[in-house]
């Protein structure tokens, strides 16, 4: 088992996989031609406002080579998939970075059957397809479209399809990246807009293709109209921030591309996920409606699973665990389309 170390750079939230010469997503796992997986830390914003959930995450290109793809389970049918703002994720990271955690930021003021293709679009070097179908159908679509699925993919796709048969497949086109001048480490932020009644954030997908002992790391930011109740199914999640979002943060976010919708008041929740892949078998359910608890099913739990209710209400401890949020949309699945498929087989 090899556990990759992560590299972060000051303001940049996205992380680089250390696999030299290989392309990778910045939002989850990467499966290489020979089936090896590199760990990539995930950063995601899941914002829920007026019945609409918006995911913002970044796909990072780490070099030329094979085409790389990810499949992201979505909680609903998106009305838009577009390029995200340029600094939203970085600004959120800065908001919770240690120096600002002391409160200075605010003062600064300022298939089977065929999967149904619902949407296709290109964003920079990414080819994005939104699919509707069961796990088998989406898996088959992915296979036919050059994705190499890891052995745990069938079970994980079924896990998500049982709740929401909507997936987003994203493939990095290395040739187009070259034409666009994208180099190793360049990220492409994506924002997905989904009307929802009961938001949830996929987390389990972050462990796709990893050995059970490998640690999944993710930073998950939530912006909601009110302080949320959160429900997760296991340990590994730390509630690091739960507070009214600063006016400076919201102002900065609102001025980013596509973020005009940010209202003057929102609740900021920051969760850090660090869990062995084997234990990350749940998602994060969210409720912002007073008196209504998050749905167990939305967290991927059944009646026999133990759940962790995470909330800072009533002065409860903030360390909790469980929950989480997840990574938003992120996910990952993935695979790599091997240029030389024979080398990936057997």
């Amino acid at each position: 088992m090899s556990i990759r170390r992560f590299v972060t750079s000051g303001a940049a939230l996205t992380l680089l996989a250390l696999g030299a010469g290989s392309p990778a997503w910045g939002c989850g796992g990467l499966v290489g031609e020979n089936g090896t997986v590199q760990l990539v830390k995930t950063t995601t914003l899941a914002a829920f406002h007026n019945g609409v959930q918006r995911y913002v995450t970044s796909f990072e290109f780490t070099g030329a080579g094979e085409e790389v793809g990810s499949i992201v389970p979505l909680p609903g049918v998106p009305t838009a998939v577009e390029r995200g703002g340029d600094w939203t994720l970085q600004r959120l990271a800065r908001e919770v970075a240690p120096p600002l955690a002391q409160g200075r930021a605010e003062s600064a003021g300022a298939v089977a059957a065929s999967a149904q293709v619902l949407l296709e679009t290109k964003i920079d070097a990414l080819d994005i397809t939104v699919l509707k179908g069961g796990g088998d159908e989406v898996g088959e679509w992915a296979t036919k479209n050059g994705f190499v699925l890891t052995p745990d993919s069938p079970e994980v796709l079924d896990f998500y399809a049982a709740r929401s048969p909507i997936f987003m497949a994203a493939k990095f086109n290395a040739s187009r990246a070259a034409l666009l001048g994208q180099g190793r480490g360049d990220g492409t932020p994506i924002m997905i807009t989904i009307p929802l009644d009961e938001p949830w954030v996929p987390l389990r997908i972050l462990g796709l293709g990893l050995d059970g002992a490998q640690i999944v790391e993710a930073d998950v930011f939530l912006l909601t109209d009110a302080e949320p109740d959160l429900l997760a199914g296991g340990p590994g999640l730390t509630l690091s921030r739960s507070e009214n979002a600063s006016s400076s943060l919201l102002t900065d976010l609102r001025t980013d591309k596509g973020m005009e919708w940010v209202p003057p008041d929102m609740w900021l929740t920051y969760l850090q996920l660090e869990a062995p892949a084997a234990e990350l078998d749940y998602d994060l359910a969210i409720s912002t409606t007073a008196g209504r608890e998050p749905l167990r099913a939305a967290a991927g739990l059944d009646l026999s699973d133990s759940a962790v209710h995470i909330s800072s209400h009533h002065g409860r401890p903030l360390w909790p665990i469980a929950i989480v949020v997840g990574g938003a949309a992120v996910l990952v699945v993935s695979f790599v389309r091997a240029r030389v498929r024979s080398g990936a087989v057997e």
Partner: protein, 149 residues
Amino acid sequence: MKTRLVLVAVLLLAASTVAGGTVTARRALVAADDRPLGPGAVTVTLGIEHSAFNMKELEVRRGTTVTFVVRNTDPIAHELIVGDAAVHRRHESGTESNHDRVPGELTVAPHATASTPYHFATPGTFVFACHLPGHVAYGMAGAIRVLDS
């Protein structure tokens, strides 16, 4: 997930031990009357779902020819490779993209069924496995014990 990992660990242990010829099956697939299969011609159907064989152990008599019928209900391809430790060492690093010519070696496409025969001429312990990248580590291996009588 935790359960799955435990299973994987057990299977890996079984696979590696079997390859060394010392494994003892804990629960073998046997005939309806609880005796080992064979001798003679026997058909064994192996199901694959969520990258897992529905059988982990098989017990047959020397002189049995087993036709393995593999039903893959996954959206991804799988393999069935039957053989001794040397066979599996070769396939662990092999580059063949498809198996359809050697008895006991089979590639099964997504949502497909395929079959291959294998004759167990000598007693001992054999392994069946899928050697696609990561699949053995995920638990796709089992043991076949061939009895002398």
